[in-house]
Amino acid sequence: MLRGLLRHNETYLVLLILALCAGITLANPAFLTFENVAGFLKSCSMVGIMAVGALFVLVLAGSPDVSFTAIAQVVEYAIAIATLRWGGNIYVAILAAASMGVLMGLVNGVIIHSFRVPTIIVTIATFNIYFGMLYVITAGKLINVVHPMFREFGHALLFPQTSKIGGTYGLSLMPLVWLAVVVVAWFILRRTFLGRSVFAIGGNEIAAERMGVNTLRTRLFVFGFVGLLSGVAAVVHLSIVQSVVPNIIVGKELEVIAAVVLGGASVFGGKGTLTGTVLGVLLFAILNNGLTLLDFSSYWYNVAIGVVITVAITNSAYQQLRREKARVHVKVEAR
């Protein structure tokens, strides 16, 4: 059973996270408090939601989508302005953001399917278009005042407590949105034919097609879903920061993809788990939070992430290499 566990990438991640948590807690006991954990769960929920979408694309295409941050950025701006002008409530806002995201994601899907080009190239193009046009239209103006409903949504707390210095803290709704997204994604990926199709196409598209998988529909679904998650992530982000800086989300795409890859998703497609993805996001969040608690300057964050990614991918590639060598060995003996 132990050997079975050791074969899973997730096991290493859990061990790494536990070691990290133990180390940080020893250095600063404030780490393992409800207040702190709730805080960093809230701050990483946007990345967590987007990571689920990035996982879907990586499994399907074996080539990352890089446009989802631009989609989220555009949606965030549009939603902030639209709610200021027309009001509404948070449910309408989420619905509108999600639909807008779906439309923008579908553009990727349609182009990729009809022209048979690598996802990364198409999404680089759409990234530039979405982000460039956002700046052209808005002139890069910040939005400092947003509709109060985002504040209500972002500040709503479960299990509210009063801290020593008089502030209140508790579990924000944002991680719950993330959790809901993960559950829905898990259901789709593991319990529906659609999810099976995503893995099948990622493993071998021609074989999947012959098996009767509708590649067009699956592809459109995945890119639409990524767009939807970008829209939801945009609302979550807007509710947390309550202002729009038009280049704040853009630039996070590689970090999100790195978290997904750290979670064990294959860059060749057809392989990846939601557990791994969530763990990858958590690991980054814990690293970030830990560095802050240990009084490191924020400059070290990228170094730490870089080291972790390097070690993780080297380890998983090395494991793969050993497994392959072992397989060859068996074959030789059998002869």
Binding site: P64, I111, S114, F115, R116, V117, P118, I120, I121, V122, I124, A125, T126, F127, N128, I129, Y130, F131, G132, M133, L134, Y135, V136, G140, L254, E255, I257, A258, V261, V267, F268, S297, Y299, W300, Y301, N302, V303, A304, I305, G306, V307, I309, T310, I313, T314, A317, Y318, Q320, L321
Partner: protein, 352 residues
């Protein structure tokens, strides 16, 4: 009679050359006072080498089926190490240091870049980490290291010689442009006339076949990433001359531009195919377009969006062109088959 290969195959480079001429004419017509001038030509040949070296550094990795996402980070790292060595050697008077010290500092920067290239190459060739991951990790790591070293500040104050590399002029031609010409010539020889260059193409089109053809796959891969990092270092020296400073995150937007240049130049992102002439034309096209649009005082973000549109149009054009060709080939094959089966009159009757 043998028809030369260049004429037999519809070459991508020829299409690119036509596109280039068209764009130059178009830009000149839009802006006759400022675009077709000697001054503009010179300023373009100052800017061109930066994009060109980054794109070539990207191209050599794509030929082997890889990618180098860390190329910009490596360039910035090179610049920063160069400044560190310079300050260590010359202290406060770094901007008055002699040629020897400047060369030593650049040597230090180059060594740092090659070190990064060696590590990346080792990870990809020996540990068999997928290139996109290894370089993504290297990029994140280097971006962090760059920030930690510089603390986000801009470092400046370079000796005359170092500035001259990026900013000087010789015989009326910008020095970086001369360097570019020399490097492209060397790269052409490397790719077409050396064992390493040919192995690179072999490796990119079929790594397993390459291994069984006795190509030292791993050594070639390491050399490939060393070369790519060398291009990053060259970029760094030229940028230092032109910007008179180094920073942790200069030129980050060029990462996508260099991928775009490879795509435009006809390099197969899965490896094994791509021509240097196509790349050079692609880079020149990118430069002409961006200068032309800049001279029209357009919004830089509009230009960014335009790059996106250009990629999409290219994707569509490549796809439709390929399909057209296939259909033509199919029709020719069918006609040949029918011609072989029956006399031609019957074939026409059958079609009718």
């Amino acid at each position: 009679m043998r028809i030369p290969l260049v004429l037999r195959r519809p070459s991508a480079s020829r299409t690119l050359a036509v596109v280039l001429v068209a764009i130059v004419l178009f830009m000149s017509a839009l802006n006759p006072q400022r675009f077709p001038t000697l001054g503009n030509l010179i300023s373009m040949s100052y800017q061109l080498p930066i994009v060109a070296f980054l794109s070539l550094g990207m191209m050599v990795t794509m030929l082997s089926g890889g990618i180098n996402l860390g190329i910009i980070a490596t360039a910035n790292f090179t610049g920063i190490v160069t400044v560190l060595v310079l300050r260590a050697l010359a202290g406060e008077a770094a901007d008055e240091a002699g040629v020897g010290v400047a060369l030593l500092a650049m040597g230090g920067g180059l060594a740092a870049a090659l070190g990064i290239g060696a590590i990346t190459g080792w990870l990809i060739a020996y540990v068999e980490v997928p290139a996109i991951l290894a370089t993504l990790a290297m990029m994140t790591l280097l971006n962090g290291v760059n920030l930690v070293i510089t603390k986000g500040y801009t470092l400046s104050g370079f000796p005359e010689f170092l500035l001259g590399v990026g900013n000087g002029m010789a015989w009326g031609v910008p020095i970086p442009f001369l360097i570019l010409i020399a490097v492209v010539a060397l790269l052409a020889i490397l790719l077409k006339r050396t064992r390493t260059g040919l192995s690179l193409f072999l490796l990119g089109s079929n790594p397993i076949a390459a291994r069984f053809s006795n190509v030292p796959v791993r050594a070639v891969l390491v050399r490939d990433y060393l070369l790519s990092s060398g291009f990053a270092a060259l970029t760094a020296f030229i940028m230092m001359g032109q910007l008179n400073s180094v920073k942790a995150n200069y030129a980050e937007s060029y990462l996508l531009v260099s991928v775009l240049a490879c795509f435009l130049g006809g390099v197969d992102p899965f490896g094994g195919a791509g021509s240097l002439s196509g790349m050079v034309l692609a880079v020149v096209i990118l430069q002409v377009v961006s200068t032309g649009v800049n001279l029209l005082r357009m919004d830089p973000f509009f230009i960014q969006a335009m790059w996106g549109f250009i990629i999409l149009v290219l994707i569509a054009a490549t796809f439709l062109g390929g399909r057209l060709q296939e259909r033509r080939r199919l029709r020719a094959a069918r006609a040949a088959q029918q011609g072989a089966e029956r006399p031609s009159g019957d074939a026409r009757a059958a079609v009718e």
